[in-house]
């Protein structure tokens, strides 16, 4: 074989190997969740979860019934429903990601956290997130799903700009009830 042919084939093989390495999916690709990204006010529908975030509020104190607590609260008012099955459909995954930190929906007030979802009849209510006092959040990402393990199921992802929202002195969580919207 001619010398130039040897070099050309060798080079082509290196480029091919680089290309294969480039397009190989990462190790966790086979178990990634299926995110459905929607904005505030839009309905996001996944495999067995449909969410509409109606309003995002911020407050220096949150209350629900007799419970009340001061803090840096972000309160999400939303409608949530199941799509194909009511069996074991709880709103188990509710996180807010701000500046690389992940906050879970607070278990302190009564809220839609771990609420049971029905097919076709949305539940309406709130989720409360407690942030540190010294955090002035801007870009946040709300993630909602049916299983605390997010792999291989739909996630409703809602990006929120928290810097545009005025901070109230007190905000009451909406009671969890059948939606009338």
């Amino acid at each position: 074989m001619r010398r130039w042919a040897t070099w050309a084939i060798g080079g082509a093989l290196i480029v091919a190997a680089w290309g294969v390495a480039l397009i190989t999916p990462p190790e966790d690709a086979f178990e990634r969740p299926f995110p459905v990204t929607v904005g505030v006010g839009e309905r996001g529908e996944g495999r067995n979860i449909a969410i509409t975030v109606h309003e995002v509020r911020r407050a220096e104190a949150a209350s629900a019934g007799e419970w009340t607590a001061e803090g840096n609260w972000v309160i999400i008012d939303l409608d949530a429903e199941a799509v194909i099955s009511e069996f074991g459909t709880l709103l188990s995954l509710a996180t807010l990601e701000v500046d690389g930190r992940t906050y879970a929906a607070s278990e302190r007030p009564d809220s839609l956290r771990r609420g049971s979802l029905s097919v076709g009849i949305p539940r309406s209510g709130s989720l409360a997130f407690e942030l540190p006092d010294d955090v002035d959040p801007a870009d946040a990402v709300l993630t909602l799903g049916l299983d605390s393990d997010p792999r291989l199921d739909s996630l409703i992802v809602v990006p929120i700009d928290l810097s545009e929202i005025d901070v109230e002195s007190d905000a009451e969580l909406q009671p969890s009830e059948w939606s009338t919207r």
Binding site: W67, T95, G100, R101, T102, A104, R108, F129, L131
Partner: protein, 214 residues
Amino acid sequence: MTTGRDSSTRPARTRFGWLRAASDRVPTRWFAGIATALFLAATAAFGGLATAATPDITALEPGDEHRNDQVAMTIDRAVLIDEFEDAGVYVEEGERVLALLVSVENTWDEPLSATPDSSVTQSLTVDGLGDPPDSVARYDDATINPVLQPGVPAQIVLAWAVEADAFDDAQELKLTFNDMTLHTGSFVANGQWWTDPVAAATVSIAVEDIGAGG
């Protein structure tokens, strides 16, 4: 026949002759010496054969905070009380409650669940109480098994049901703060969790016997 053997080995010798010539140049008799020198150099680089220093266990004053990459903890109070159902612990006949009031802050970037058998309770061991607490609750609104949000401080109560005569008023309680290691699951496990507690600091606090409550 010798001539026959020569003719069969000669082609092999010419084919791999260059390999033989190359390997003859490798100074094999120096390998043992080179390996020994590398071993000694590596040993010296890692601090020689001296005993590795064990991590110091800091003795903290009461009220001092112990902070690591997982949680920051301060022991506020240790009380002995007849019963403390708000903290989620129920006593039987002949038992009282030993409760620790602890200020905690999650210093990690994910929520930490503070259940009796969680990485948060494993971060604290009490001499004389081998078991994890019977209950963990928030001090302000009595939420059982609270979730510690990143950077949000909280006061929690760790409560044990103990034999009524196991602890006395003003008895010094020795507590150990443990540092945990963040473990990332792989292969069949998924996610990250804190594990492997190692003692990092100690603190003593006097138990207050507050009788029926107060």
